[in-house]
Subunit: 290 residues, 4 copies
Amino acid sequence: MEQPSGTVARLLITCPDQPGIISAVSTFLYHHNANITDLDQHSTENRPGTFFLRLEFQTPGLDCSLEALESNFRSRVASKYDMDWTLTFAHEKKRMAVLVSRHDHALMELLWRVQRGDLSAEIPMVISNHDDLRAEVERFGIEFHHVPVDAQNKDAAFERMLELMDGKVDVIVLARYMQILPPAFVSRHPGRIINIHHSFLPAFVGANPYQQAWDRGVKLIGATSHYVTDDLDQGPIIEQNVQRVSHRHSAQELKALGQDVERSVLLRAVRWHLEDRIIIDGNKTVVFVK
Amino acid sequence: MEQPSGTVARLLITCPDQPGIISAVSTFLYHHNANITDLDQHSTENRPGTFFLRLEFQTPGLDCSLEALESNFRSRVASKYDMDWTLTFAHEKKRMAVLVSRHDHALMELLWRVQRGDLSAEIPMVISNHDDLRAEVERFGIEFHHVPVDAQNKDAAFERMLELMDGKVDVIVLARYMQILPPAFVSRHPGRIINIHHSFLPAFVGANPYQQAWDRGVKLIGATSHYVTDDLDQGPIIEQNVQRVSHRHSAQELKALGQDVERSVLLRAVRWHLEDRIIIDGNKTVVFVK
Amino acid sequence: MEQPSGTVARLLITCPDQPGIISAVSTFLYHHNANITDLDQHSTENRPGTFFLRLEFQTPGLDCSLEALESNFRSRVASKYDMDWTLTFAHEKKRMAVLVSRHDHALMELLWRVQRGDLSAEIPMVISNHDDLRAEVERFGIEFHHVPVDAQNKDAAFERMLELMDGKVDVIVLARYMQILPPAFVSRHPGRIINIHHSFLPAFVGANPYQQAWDRGVKLIGATSHYVTDDLDQGPIIEQNVQRVSHRHSAQELKALGQDVERSVLLRAVRWHLEDRIIIDGNKTVVFVK
Amino acid sequence: MEQPSGTVARLLITCPDQPGIISAVSTFLYHHNANITDLDQHSTENRPGTFFLRLEFQTPGLDCSLEALESNFRSRVASKYDMDWTLTFAHEKKRMAVLVSRHDHALMELLWRVQRGDLSAEIPMVISNHDDLRAEVERFGIEFHHVPVDAQNKDAAFERMLELMDGKVDVIVLARYMQILPPAFVSRHPGRIINIHHSFLPAFVGANPYQQAWDRGVKLIGATSHYVTDDLDQGPIIEQNVQRVSHRHSAQELKALGQDVERSVLLRAVRWHLEDRIIIDGNKTVVFVK
């Protein structure tokens, strides 16, 4: 059910599984006159299990302020069930910084989607370790920061990037950013850095995955979007897709075909993050897809 | 969350949308100590909207009999919200009759899946207007009835089939059954007859869709599974899929490729029906896919 | 096998099938020291059949000029086998006019691909019946012509468009151009006008196919790229693809999802045309895909 | 172009690339009155390159015996270009042994396809290290050999299997055969053993790939068919495909979904081998797909 986005709230919940959670949450919202329009639930199989819930509700009829709703939920429901939870409002667009190196395909897709309103976000800045894409970015009216990174200045460079983004971003997207993020950087934005890896993970980790794929003679190439953790290429996978190739394609052509997959896979992952459809569950994701 | 199937109940609900339904249903189940393990919900966009719900719950801890639960739900919840609803138990396998003409591919897939426990159903009988597939069917230990149909005996033939199935079947699958069902037959099993049509509906209705597809030079062929209504090829679509083809394929080859699509599309539709994942909404379906 | 594009020639042949054609063509090229790097062949099943051939060859070692090669081929091979044929050189980029109305998604993809060298074409102009997309187009440094079309001026408008393109374009792409082309326009560019239709033809011809698809409750939506003929939506299909949808998607969401399919399907069709991979065979296409 | 299979011959050629090969081959066939109905060609990019060719031709009009044709081709064409080549006739069905352990899904698909004429092969025997599937196999009228394999008797067991197949099989299909073949076995059937691996190689080599995939939280699972070499899971890949999964699927469900992918991927690989569409190129395959 589509609603005016200004009136949509989203609740994401993770907690130990036990009977009565849905009843407690839905009854709480009903009593505050919040109309649930979408509800998706998942519980893990292990015992004791973990319970995951995403729901969307309408706020116009609320019998209290959003703040009061949040405060009441915390005290009356969340604490009782030991919940990790977030409550967001669709009208508060997330602020998304994009980090990029030289390949523009994934970046352009994001800028273009945001510009035409296809992706509900604000882009306060693009940061790159190269200056090549400045004009492309600035013509969208978006700030571009060139922060070179080399072996000598690596810590300082990432410190500089953290300063640039300080208090200004809710999510960071690596749109083919070819530097490895230091732990100090990652720990400042836990669960909020999305990367696109140019292979079907866990196949072909490391450098030059398209050449590796060509050397191995695979019949499908792929791309993987995942949250960044300190373990390179090992973070929770959000989305993957593949593209059929054949013996006729050179390694260079795999790269070109793969860029289209990267572009669409990253777009889906970013969209789901922006719409609060993803809960991180250890090294996996629960994705409540429409 | 997978559970011993003997303890799983499924509730399908359709009713006019209004606030509080999820709260009412989930609280009812909680109070009877039924643990919800899966919940999926949908509301239509139009106003007043229609509310659809599927939920699975565990029955071992119930504080009453299944019959009492059903009776209580009717009087305390369903009537209040004007619900159309069904409550089923996974351990009660649906009885599925299969109607077929001469093509065996879809039939064999169903028999094979049921035999190996991949599909939770019983097959009390297969009925065909030809005798060709008798041996194939009987070697699975399944009754085979040959009921010829021609212009002269059509009404009598379908009356005979209704008698054969009377009280013995919960769902009828047309696995490439090439006779048009008369209204009197369809009306006896409303929303319980599943057909596989050998084209990507609504393209290529009528006879010989693969030849039509070849003549038109399409680049994808498809198959459609739908519930049967009195409007030929117009019933609610359950599932569709396609297969890429090229100028190199003859009409005959389209037919062979298409049979693989038919087989897998029908299997998915039947599986969803058996798992109570489908609600018919006018001429459409709501399918709560895993 | 990838080659410097400056040295690649492509030969497309259609002729009545008979033994010896491949031998004749390949021997001719060999004797002129042209090295065949790719060859793809197809013959129709009917009798007498039609023979289709696409081959790529290298020109650096040629023992004569390109003009002499062409002239010799005509007199010594093509006339003997009654061939329809075209010989093109990859370094001569095709000039592509794009016609568009208000939707920018397909247009932007084409402009962006040409700009970054992903698509080997020149775009001498974009023509629209609205002025909305002028800025978008002009920032790529491409001429934009606004040619309004209404019931009164239709003939004159299309005449004006023909004049604008006269002698300047090799192929015309309708990137969601929402006016029906008059026969006088189509006949001036036979087999050189590519359209993207926003449905999986032949399903949902006519207006508002996404609404039609939503009304029918299909589980896959699609897009179709085809050459334009005087029969609306009936021209030879070049490429099609689909996207899975569900009961959760509104007609408006089908439209948004469909635009991504339109974009990628049109891109493939245009790419294949530009690379001389398509031969029109009556109301079908032979597409020699890599 | 479909032809009566009794009259179709297929020529597969691998040789060092040089100008004139297609001319030489096609002219040779033309002079013997063999009509080429399908030709597909590929050359590798490296220098000096390798040339691969598959062609189908009609034999009814031949001016000599098949033996003479073969002998003439060897002396007049193949030796000049230093060709590896095979000439096969579609009416000579390949004899295919199937090795299987306990999972029946891939085996049943092959038996069923051969029985109904969908797959052009003879199956002289099925060999298993378990006796479980004997009845399933024998009801197709096919010999079943139970050859147990354990750590003690491994060499003897595979020796026994070689004896059983000696002179009776052209290709060996491992339809989920869970024993590692010893080098002495592999070397007796080079390029003639096809395996289905239950993961998207090179991801998840080794044991229990579905559990590995579940642990890693991938969003697509896959299967890979490849020729067996002495390097476990490293042989030339023939075909791969994937299936979308989500957080809702248990490891056990990944396995069930994966079996459908295994079944269809193996079927395609086997079909292509039987139709002489595959040339092994080092550790890769060239697959001339229809």
